[in-house]
């Protein structure tokens, strides 16, 4: 069987000119060897087809050794680190120059599962947790490291109202003003 190589001008152009396939690295040598058998002139119907076919097969063979999906995976990893920094406050650092001889090395390594502990400051998670702690402290007097006051604001208001109600011998104008405050707080 001899192959006829259809070149792009012979077939309709598609929007996406490549596809992503999974190839086990261990099988790459065997695939490269299989491609080699198709480089022979006898597989092609003309010298021009043979030339273009050889170049095409060599191009695909070379790309098998270049880790075509690495840039895609790296872009996804960068998005994860961005999200992790915003939400959890994880601080990432990088060494290297991004070359094969001196590749980028990121640390800390990305966890296999999302972190469950509290977020570090500054982060969306930390800010949200802190707001909840302050609200809990104000309403329920629960104390935290960043909200140590154990006074209950509602009890404070009730005590204030009771103190105002007990007043009888103050200046009438001050007493009237306190009565207005008590009505406003009641």
């Amino acid at each position: 069987m001899r192959a006829q190589l259809y070149i792009p001008r012979d077939v309709p152009l598609t929007l996406i000119r490549s596809e992503l396939v999974e190839i086990d690295v261990e099988s790459i040598p065997f695939l490269l060897g299989a491609l080699r058998t198709k480089e022979l002139r006898s597989h092609w119907t003309s010298n021009e087809d043979a030339k273009r076919g050889r170049q095409m097969l060599a191009k695909e063979g070379a790309q098998m050794l270049l880790g075509a999906a690495d840039r895609i995976v790296e872009a996804i990893d960068r998005l994860y680190r961005l999200t992790d920094s915003i939400h959890n406050g994880t601080v990432y650092a990088v060494d290297g120059e991004g070359t094969d001889l001196d590749p980028y090395v990121y640390y800390p390594p990305m966890p296999l599962v999302p972190a469950t502990e509290s977020g570090a400051e500054p982060s969306v998670k930390f800010s949200l947790e802190k707001a909840l702690r302050l609200q809990d402290n104000l309403v329920n007097a629960t104390t935290y490291d960043d909200a140590p006051d154990d006074r209950n604001v509602r009890q404070q208001l009730a005590d204030l109202i009771a103190a105002i109600e007990g007043q009888t011998n103050l200046d009438p104008q001050i007493l009237a003003a306190l009565e207005d405050v008590r009505e406003a707080l009641a």
Binding site: V25, R36, L57, K59, G61, A62, L65, L66, G67, D100
Partner: protein, 157 residues
């Protein structure tokens, strides 16, 4: 190294009206220059035309010689194992196949461990740079200049 077995063979293809081809061949000393070989070959073809109706279609000149000595290959030599050196100039691609691959030159770490040449090794990089120098003087099977850049170990050499 040239030996007593070195020769220059010339094969000349003749063609009849039906397109059938047959060859005749000559053997010259290896030391004969290419110009001398062409001179004698042209004379030979000229004489043949007087006694043959066939047309001359092409000729092939082959220089052969064997390495002297009785040295044997390393015990680990495996001619079924190849290195495929891919070359690119950004638009065209080609591949040079080298039989008897030395497996110890492959990467030992990472995703391509045991698959790619370890171009990070200085000795391997030096070999590749030397090969890249030579590719400037050779051509593809179609006679075009070779693509200029090696693609090895994920590096462009």
């Amino acid at each position: 190294m040239l030996t007593a077995h070195a020769r220059a063979f010339v094969s000349i293809a003749f063609e009849d009206r039906e397109g059938n081809r047959r060859n005749t061949s000559l053997t010259f000393p290896f030391s004969l220059s290419e110009a001398q070989i062409h001179t004698y070959m042209d004379l030979w073809i000229d004489r043949i035309r007087g006694i043959s109706n066939a047309e001359i279609r092409h000729y092939i000149i082959t220089h052969t010689f064997e390495e002297e000595g009785e040295s044997t290959a390393d015990i680990d030599t495996d001619l079924y194992s190849y290195f495929a050196l891919y070359l690119s100039n950004g638009s065209d691609y080609d591949c040079i196949w080298i039989p008897g691959a030395k497996r110890e030159l492959l990467e030992t770490e990472g995703q391509y461990a045991g698959v790619r040449l370890d171009a990070a090794r200085p000795d391997v990089a030096a070999i590749l740079l030397g090969l890249a120098d030579i590719t400037a003087f050779i051509v593809t099977p179609e006679g075009d200049p070779f693509p200029s850049t090696f693609v090895v170990g994920g590096l462009a050499v």
